[in-house]
């Protein structure tokens, strides 16, 4: 994976030298970089790994999920705050994840925190169990369980 990126950089640099301009320009370099992307995309199977920008795509997708979750949960909370009578039943529940590794767990925890109505309070020492505080436990638990697989998949697309 880093190899692809390094190669891309090399191509961009080469491109820049090939232009034989008076001075080195960042724009030229950028142009070379784009060329490199195309080349590597075409050739990525030779590396035996995924195309590295593919992961970037997954990442963007993940971020998009983040944003939508954030927006949704904000709306939800606003509604709850502004509702004339607070009709919430907070509580703490657990969730056991299949994800492993610091990055995956962290990302999932952050996602869950941004999910409407839930905040990850604790991760157990083994790192596979989340203790989640829910604004309204009935609804949140359902929300979390519904979307969690989606999250896990999105995360794994980036990390694995």
């Amino acid at each position: 994976m880093p190899a692809q990126f390094l190669l891309n950089l090399f191509i961009a640099f080469l491109w820049m030298l090939l232009q034989d301009e008076d001075e080195l320009k960042i724009t030229t370099f950028f142009g070379g970089f784009l060329v490199g992307i195309v080349i590597i995309f075409l050739m990525h199977r030779f590396f035996g790994t995924q195309f590295y920008l593919r992961r970037l795509y997954s990442l963007i997708k993940l971020i998009f999920i983040f944003i939508t979750e954030l927006a949704a949960s904000s709306v939800l909370i606003s509604r709850q705050i502004l509702s004339p009578k607070l009709r919430i039943k907070p509580g703490i529940f657990t969730y056991k994840t299949e994800l492993r590794g610091d990055w995956e767990i962290t990302t999932l925890a952050m996602l869950l925190t941004l999910t409407p109505g839930s905040v990850v309070m604790e991760v157990n020492p083994a790192g596979d169990m989340f203790y989640i505080h829910a604004m309204d436990i009935e609804q949140s638990k359902a929300d979390v369980l519904r979307s969690i697989t989606k999250f896990e998949k999105a995360i794994m697309e980036v990390t694995r």
């Binding site: 904000s74 909370i77 919430i88 907070p90 925890a109 925190t113 604790e122």
Partner: protein, 114 residues
């Protein structure tokens, strides 16, 4: 025109902010308040930052990396902050509101309280 859009984005953010501020007064305990803070408030700031970003882009043709970085940063840290505060609160034995339903942590952390 887009400037106006940016301004409206910001206005939305500010309203969001007031709502969440209202939330931390209205909600019954620190855990529920932290929901307001980590979510609505974060969204509010993201909105206003985006508004500013758009404004500078449109108005001065200036893509502010600093603003972008700021957005990323807030995005990255807000949930962590929420996580840390609620954890601290719980371990600092701040009580959940009375009408809370389950508490699956209690037995684990404070078994002696039974």
């Amino acid at each position: 025109m887009i400037e106006l859009g940016a301004a409206l984005l910001i206005l939305l953010g500010s309203i969001m902010s007031v709502v969440s501020a209202f939330g931390i007064i209205r909600l019954p305990d620190v855990y529920t308040r932290s929901h307001a803070a980590t979510k609505s408030s974060t969204l509010a700031v993201l909105l206003s930052l985006t508004g500013a970003f758009v404004y500078f882009w449109v108005h001065e043709g200036f893509i502010s990396v600093r603003l972008l970085l700021g957005i990323v940063f807030v995005f990255l840290t807000a949930p962590v902050a929420g996580h840390l505060i609620t954890r601290a609160a719980y371990r600092g034995r701040v009580k959940l509101t009375d009408n809370s339903a389950d508490d699956e942590l209690k037995d684990l952390l404070f078994p002696e309280d039974k």
